[in-house]
Amino acid sequence: MTPGIESAYAKRKIAARAATVASSAAVVLALAPLVAIFLHVAVRGVRALSVSFFTEPVGARGAGMANAVFGTIQLVLLASAMGIPLGIAGGLYLSECRHTRLARAVRFCADVLAGVPSILVGVAVYAVVVVRMKQFSAFAGAAALAIVMLPLVVRTTDVLARAVPDSLREAALALGATRWRTAIFVVLRTAAPGIRSGCMLAVARVCGETAPLLFTAYNNRFFNDSLFDPTSTLQVQIFTYTMTPNEDWHAQAWAAALVLVAIVVVLDVLARRLVERKEVA
């Protein structure tokens, strides 16, 4: 045997061990803030949670945030209904027609849009929708959130659809499928699990967006079932309450933060269930 090989092997073993330790440490370090935030929110939030939080609208002492919970869910669902189908369709176009000039232009715009600060999106929607309707509204808020979601969904769909091997596209085309049927029934279906996760991330992201709502959905102390009235959301309510010196309201804000996190988790679980059931059928 070559003389130096034993010591070289020992050295490599040490290096491998060191790399494992270092990357494990990095994982712990990266997860620490998440766990810390989650625990902190949970502890502070649970204390302020009560039944009335979910039954009473925003108000003085003892009141809840029922209208804000409702508003957040309403806005996020509406934004998803606008942003996700449009984003998936756009991403699929980018992937399947990737060499066209339009695709290049759209991809560039999507990248730029992803970099636009979300408060600017709020201002833009304010100018286009709110000013014209002369009214803050849930619709305007949802539109702003949808615009924030759009580049995220487009980009994930584009990347994941492109990762679908060409051999599957060719298989479908050779079976006499048209290009759009190939895109929908083969490409989209194959990439679906990843796109689902991407959409969930986009939803989670807008669940926490506050800035675009300040100029669009604004806020409302009361329940409203109209899409065309100002609407309260947990995000804006947290912002409003945190800005006050009122201890009670601070506690309420913590509770709202906890509920917001819970909504994201529930949405995620629901989406998973939905997709799994579809795959079985």
């Binding site: 298989a171 479908a172 079976l175 006499g176 499928a177 029934f185 279906r189 194959t190």
Partner: protein, 269 residues
């Protein structure tokens, strides 16, 4: 090299154009961007016979068969000149929809490519469903085509399992079944056995043998033994040109072009 008396006699006894022709390439050339992959190919594909296309890597074999169902143009920058006739009609005529050509001229690829998200059953039916057709009796169709590719007995209890769980050879037979479910007239096979082991290869070859009564088959292959075993006619391609086309036994016993002889005797390629 001059032609031997034997081969001339062989040729005279069996003229090449005596049988009905299903498809015919006429002065067919193909490009990828500026790179010419095929030049001026003219040859017939005889109805309900197996035609093998042989030649070294990069000689244009795959490009040639991809021109026969208009799959060549799917690649960005690819183009074609010349013509291909199917039952005497051009498949490159401006009013011809490539989608319809591909339904009549099916294709099996080098690497088995069943749809991973679909069950075995759905894979078989995929071609019809992708065309928006609901077959009247799906179960009967699935059983029939899986039977044709000798896969039925192996998978009849697991039709709802994903197609990707099958072995490589089974996947390839599933892909052939998927192609046959559309009742094509011509079946193009692009090195269907190159990623399979010898046992699976033997099964596919047997299958090609069984299918020749119903379909016009074109097989691209690297293996000269395979071409000799399965084909009635053989075309030898070299550097994008058709060097020789003849009855398989003529190609493998008395080729008239020295390049063919060099290739089949293993002097190059």
């Amino acid at each position: 090299m001059t032609e031997s008396i034997d081969s001339i006699r062989l040729r005279a006894a069996r003229p090449l154009e005596a049988e009905p022709v299903k498809m015919r390439a006429t002065s067919l050339s193909a490009w990828f961007g500026d790179k010419r992959a095929l030049s001026n190919i003219s040859m017939p594909l005889v109805e309900r016979k197996v035609t093998a296309v042989i030649g070294p890597s990069g000689c244009g074999k795959s490009t040639f068969i991809r021109c026969l169902n208009r799959m060549h143009e799917v690649v960005a920058g690819a183009r074609v000149s010349g013509d291909v006739l199917l039952d005497g009609k051009s498949i490159y005529a401006p009013d011809v929809d490539p989608v319809r050509v591909r339904r009549r001229v099916g294709m099996v690829f080098q690497k088995p490519n069943p749809f991973p998200t679909m069950s075995i059953r759905d894979n078989v039916l995929a071609g019809l469903r992708l065309s928006g057709i609901e077959p009247p009796d799906e179960d009967a169709l699935v059983e029939e085509v899986l039977g044709q590719v000798a896969l039925w007995d192996e998978v009849k209890d697991s039709l709802d399992r994903p197609g990707g769980e099958l072995s490589g050879g089974q996947q390839q037979r599933l892909c052939i079944a998927r192609c046959l479910a559309l009742e094509p007239e011509v079946v193009l096979m692009d090195e269907p056995c190159s990623s399979l082991d010898p046992v699976a290869t033997a099964k596919i070859e047997e299958l090609i043998h069984d299918l020749r009564d119903r379909y016009t088959i074109v097989v691209v292959t690297h293996s000269m033994q395979q071409a000799a075993r399965v084909s009635d006619y053989t075309a030898f391609f070299y550097l994008g040109e058709l060097v020789e086309y003849d009855h398989a036994d003529v190609i493998f016993t008395k080729p008239s072009d020295p390049r063919t002889e060099d290739y089949i005797t293993g002097r190059f390629g």
